[in-house]
Amino acid sequence: MERFDVIVVGGGVNGTGTARDCAMRGLSVLLLEKQDLGCGASGGSSGMIHGGVRYMLSDRKVTELACRDSGYIQRIVPHLLFRIPFLVPFASKGERARLEERAEWYAFEVYFGAYDQYQPLKRSKPSVRLGAEELYRVEPGLRPGLHGAIAFDEWGIDANRLCLGNALSAETHGARIRTWTEAREVLRRDGRVTGVRWRDALTGEVGEAEAPVVFNASGAWSPAFGRRAGARVPMRPGKGVHLTLDRRWSDYGVLCTAVDGRQMFLMPHENESIVGTTDDDFYGDPDDIEATHDEVQYLLEGAASMVPGVARSRITRAWWGVRTTLHAYGPNEDALSRDHRLLEHAADGAAGLLSIVGGKLASYRAQAEDATDLILSLLGRAPAACHTHEEPLPGGEAPVDVAALASRHGVAEPVAGRIAYRHGARAEEVLRLCDEDPRLRLVLCKGEGILAAEVVHCLRHERVRRLQDLRRRCKLSVGSCGGLDCARPAAQLAARELSWSPEQARAELADLLEAGWRERRAVLDGHQLVQEELLRGVFGGGA
């Protein structure tokens, strides 16, 4: 039986972040993820490293923590972050703004003025007040009749690659990472947890691992995992759906008001736009979840109320995640605290089991630091200094000169740019593969800028066990084409690299396509439906 200091259950941002911190502070770590890194709430999030301006009224502490941690995240993975300026437009019901509307705008300015205190923590610019003319100049697609806006700064990130980066770094520091391996049972003796029993979903292999501390970072699944140790993990799970639109519909993120008065947004995110999000109490099984027609319409209508053109946009997919908000009875979903809490389960007869509930992607590093501090103390170890805010994640070591990179390896600059975005300083290593094997210059996706070389790099160095893992490594077959060009060659590359039989490669391809289908089913309309007919012509009927 293998022994570790700590077993981390869950490969989301909390699990991978904590595994990294623990490993960097000298602990031996096993991380188990039942599917792939990032495939829970982390990959299903809005992908914003934001300061949480929304929480400022209720939870100023959350705002400050988030801003400070965003700054650290920028320092350690600069390549994965991109600025998203946001607009909060003001409308007036009449020709001239009434007194109370003016008061409301004033209140907003004061509010954002307060937020500005925290902005330098995350290297963001202070908010600005825009008049109507300036507003329509910067964002002409907005609906008519707006009187102005406040513009403020936030940051976006590829959350899947953030999880991956943490996992790879943890590995470099000695951690063991097992994906597609579920922690099935909690081993206990005399009121203490002693380890877990796991099962590898791909090979069927089962095994046990021992550790005095088990860290339950299984997100929406944590109540279920806790129950296996007799521990209660109270939370109020909330389902959140996003839509992806096929292109950038605006240069700014735009805050919109949904039909029920909730705040939502339309924002540019990498090459696309994202509309989000819903927030509804979720009582179901987090493994059995899809976007519904109602959710799609709700989001589209809300976004179109501020940017009317969006009503005609091409929705390429609808995707989801489950928030693990702290439990409270009474408030509606939006009003729930986004703070995080670490729960020890000694009183439940499971000493050594620790669960994390709540929190945000944007403060993951601080959450991991808290968790690691507590894990050290549960282990009776002396406190050790945390360095996760200083040491770069893989690829974050140095900035990349995209033009030089592209010309050095003879690839088109936009492609080199996308690869540098995803891999940072390691883009050099990716493109070097093209020099060794010119076939790897084959462009698998023009939209995302995916080269065969990048797929091979991911297969070799980024813990890919299933073809669908490439959805999260390099957006393979996630875009509007649904994998028409890229899915087959990627399956063939994976078969070569991972020694799959032709049958296995076909099964993996089918699984990849199934994942895309689940996200498109609710949004098949217009051009996306045309694309689906093409996809079915090529991949339908089993062939």
Partner: protein, 418 residues
Amino acid sequence: MVGGGMAGAIAALAAREAGASVLLARRGPGGTALSGGAVGVAPDAGAPSTVPFALRLRPMEAARRLAALRPAHPYAIAGVGRLAEALDFAARALPGLLAPFEDRSRFLVTAGGGVAECGLCQRSQVAGDLALARGLVAAVGFRGHLGFDARPWAAAVAGMAAAGAPPSAWAEAELFGGPEEGTLAPHELARALERPGAAEAAGAAVRAVLPAGAAVALLPPVLGLDPAVRVLERLAAAAGVPVAETLADVPSVPGLRLQAALEARLAAAGVELVSGKVELGGWPRRPLLVAGQEREARAVVLASGRFVGGGLVRHGELREALLGLPVEATVGGESGTRLAGRPAPSLTRPERRAPQPLLAAGLRVDAAMRPLGESGQPAHPRLFAAGAVIGGYENAADGTGLGAAILTGYLAGKAAAG
């Protein structure tokens, strides 16, 4: 004829044969040009891969059974009585491209390493028919290109061994060499193989890597766009064995070849070919508009395709694009135009590989190929429909797409001329 895919082209040729003067307008290539390149007629769906080829249902018998089982399929509505006649007509219309019709299924390897059962195929695919091939089938990919992996092809042949498929092996040949080869798209490779000497060089390269005893070489589906250049024949002569192509993905060289052959045949048959959009708004009270010009027509055949062709659109609701004819969907045994208004999740199933009602939606026609209006009666006595614009089957994925286009096109063309 509105639409220049398989359905519109066959309808035009059938109407010409019946003595009509015919105009065919199309605004671009559709499903036909994107197809894998062989004509799916009626795969013997029930047969597992172990059933010997000799015991499989022939296409006509399989089509009869399919019609009995699936009342919404065009084979059921049109009847399959004239299916053989229609397929024979199509094969004779494109003698340089298609092999003759023989009411015998061809078992052809697909680009991804599956096996498709087809009722008619291109001459370039004949030698790869697993039911006929004898001796070792050598799947040969291109060493310099990652897009065509021969291993799955060889595995696909091996997977049909119990049915009587020959043994197989795989190899990789050096096509042109040179670093740019690996980044070419299929149609670019096809054009490159049409250059003087290229087919011979490729044939020699194939010969150099052929496993001992190879009786057939199965190659990527890029063997020239223009059949007149005879890439396949020249390559085979240099390779010293018969050569066949696999079926294709998108973009599909065999599909483009099929589309080009149809166009050439239409021109030769005296069909007036117009590039551009048809607008039918006021027809028959007002003349129809063909690429902006007013034209009179005694009869109109809608062969405008499914979503890819542009015959149907969905913007929140399913609609026939030219006349706004009612679209019918079938969900769990229930059919109707009312169902077509349902949200997408209600018209699809969670399993991708299940039949998907949304993608099987389309016009409902009577036995004379006249689309039905809201009342359930023909929308107009001289309006006909053919091909994928007709619903009741998932044309892109159920293995009957081009077969149904040929049957309905043939019948609609004859009816329109009558």
